[in-house]
Symmetry: C2
Subunit: 335 residues, 2 copies
């Protein structure tokens, strides 16, 4: 970005988190962070006839919870922005029919949470709007059906696979002071390390996460030590190790680092292979678990680096390698 800003990053002064709503599916609900989410379902249908409708219902509920906390109605929000994993970002676009305000659809695969938070923060900081709600969701059964096979087929999975989280998150950003703010953002480059196995996305995404973290640190003259916690989106156990190794090879001291894909589940007890992925993964961990810890001042500043594998199943079938991206948002307690 331009020289009067900071490389690919922007420091912000006037963007605050006012509220959030989190809904999740069974494995997230019965996982280690389950008690932190606003609502959990013990099945994948959520009372709906299709998995797509179930995902949309969870997102609508997350939105309703988010707005109700601040006693706001749909029309009180200036702008909505969001994305999901389904072709034509189906969940957000079809939900947007119920929203009487402008809507911007974004697509960054599993990085959509940080991408929508970053763009929304820039629009609020600039003074264009007072209130934006970001919307992201993913659903294990809709994502499996679309990217791989219907779960009912029981197809054998590779050990390197991650498990798409089922959940939805709405986040209200505002220019009115609250106890937690978006302190800075870094927009990521699309990185391709010649990985072509769509069953091993943690490893494919690690270089993109590395690039965004390094760029963020360089732009803001920071290191891991400047954060109480740095979380990547969904690198899972394999990608998480690779990122650490890359950092160590470049003599960067890694402290306070974890991965949302490893935090959302008990990777040893729950059947999630290498851990969680999906738009809901980093969003649930951040807004359900970490945001309350910031409000309670248990953390002062955290960096959320949501990662996305931008692969198209069709292009994977055409033997193309996988483009990956990571976008970062820094969240900070307001003193």
């Amino acid at each position: 970005m331009s020289s009067h800003f900071l490389g690919n990053s922007v420091k912000l002064d006037n963007v605050y988190i006012a509220s959030s709503g989190t809904t999740c599916g069974p494995l997230e609900f019965f996982g280690p962070l389950g008690s932190y989410f606003d609502k959990g379902y013990d099945d994948y249908h959520c009372g709906e006839k299709s998995f797509e409708k179930a995902e949309r219902k969870m997102l609508r509920e997350a939105l309703d919870i988010c707005l109700k906390r601040e006693q706001l109605k749909l029309k009180d929000i200036d702008l909505y922005m969001g994305g999901d994993l389904l072709n034509q970002i189906t969940t957000v676009n079809y939900l947007a029919r119920e929203i009487p305000q402008p809507f911007i659809g974004i697509y960054g695969a599993c990085s959509s949470f940080a991408l929508s938070m970053a763009i929304s923060s820039l629009l609020i900081e600039a003074g264009y709007v007072d209130k934006i709600v970001t919307l992201v969701s993913s659903h294990n059964a809709t994502a499996e059906r679309q990217y791989r096979y219907p779960v009912e087929y029981g197809v054998q999975k590779k050990a390197t696979t991650t498990f798409t989280a089922t959940g939805a998150v709405a986040t209200l950003l505002t220019n009115q002071k609250t106890s937690v703010r978006v302190e800075s953002i870094t927009l990521g480059k699309v990185i391709d390390y010649n990985q072509n196995d769509p069953n091993d996305m943690g490893r494919a995404m690690a270089p993109a996460a590395y690039d965004t973290i390094i760029t963020h640190f360089k732009d803001l003259k920071r290191s891991f030590k400047d954060y109480d916690l740095v979380v990547t989106g969904d690198l899972s156990t394999y990608g998480h190790k690779i990122l650490k190794t890359m950092m160590q090879q470049n003599k960067i001291d890694v402290v306070h680092y974890d991965d949302c894909g490893c935090m959302l589940y008990d990777v040893h007890k729950q059947e999630v292979f290498q851990g969680g992925s999906g738009c809901a993964c980093s969003a649930l961990v951040t807004m359900g678990y970490l945001y309350p810890l910031l409000k309670e001042k248990k953390y002062k500043r955290i960096l959320v680096v949501a990662t996305g594998a931008l692969l198209s199943p069709m292009l994977s079938a055409q033997k193309e390698t996988i483009p990956c991206v990571a976008h970062a948002v820094s969240l900070e307690v307001v003193e």
Copy 2:
């Protein structure tokens, strides 16, 4: 949006169009506007082995032409933003692997041109970046294969169908003064008029175009008369008529109005059913044909209202109606 701005619109002071690149396929090349495009192909493969690769090649060429005109390199641009019609916005995301700068993926179906121009304009106006290139593309054979059937099947089409344009457009926006500027933008709401026929998208999108135009006029206290030309994205002959009727029923005087889907082809002679659609449709007509007319001062101010049918084929199969959206950008000669 917030009260200190103008409803859902923003007036801009510092956003200029510096360059563009336009590439197209055979029907666009041999159509009435063919001579205005930078490069045209007489086949759909463009020398590549797959239609997806052909679409990406056209977009890369549009980008190269756009940058070369201003003697810029890829890394001279602060930020890239774009979208296309393919699942996982494949064309832009896979092209972004070649781009060493941050990338934002957006999805607004055929409205992606105006959506990426609008968000980019807001980021430049706010001073975050100096130069953004927006990227959009569509390809008849990739879109048909994904949304309907491979063209090789020769499936009978309904008369209400539109023809997805083959082409790609790169546009360079900057804060440095040029002869044409982005004067204002209006972000659209997602509108659903209970239309469920994916073969009749012109009619489905007309209410969204109506809403955005009316909102734009209301926000900026304008009418059709304040523009030398108002173009909708791709309503085609049917949707175009419906929009006019809706305006007339609400006693709004319609002058200087046309539709990019009707302008890109000779609807009577070329086999395009009701006219053109696709991300490339409004982008080719605007940047290939109208932008030079603005530079030559044949128009002083035009309004481009790109329309998008946000339908998912899967949700159409589940009998859901079609969400539609339209985003508007006003382009003006700099005196």
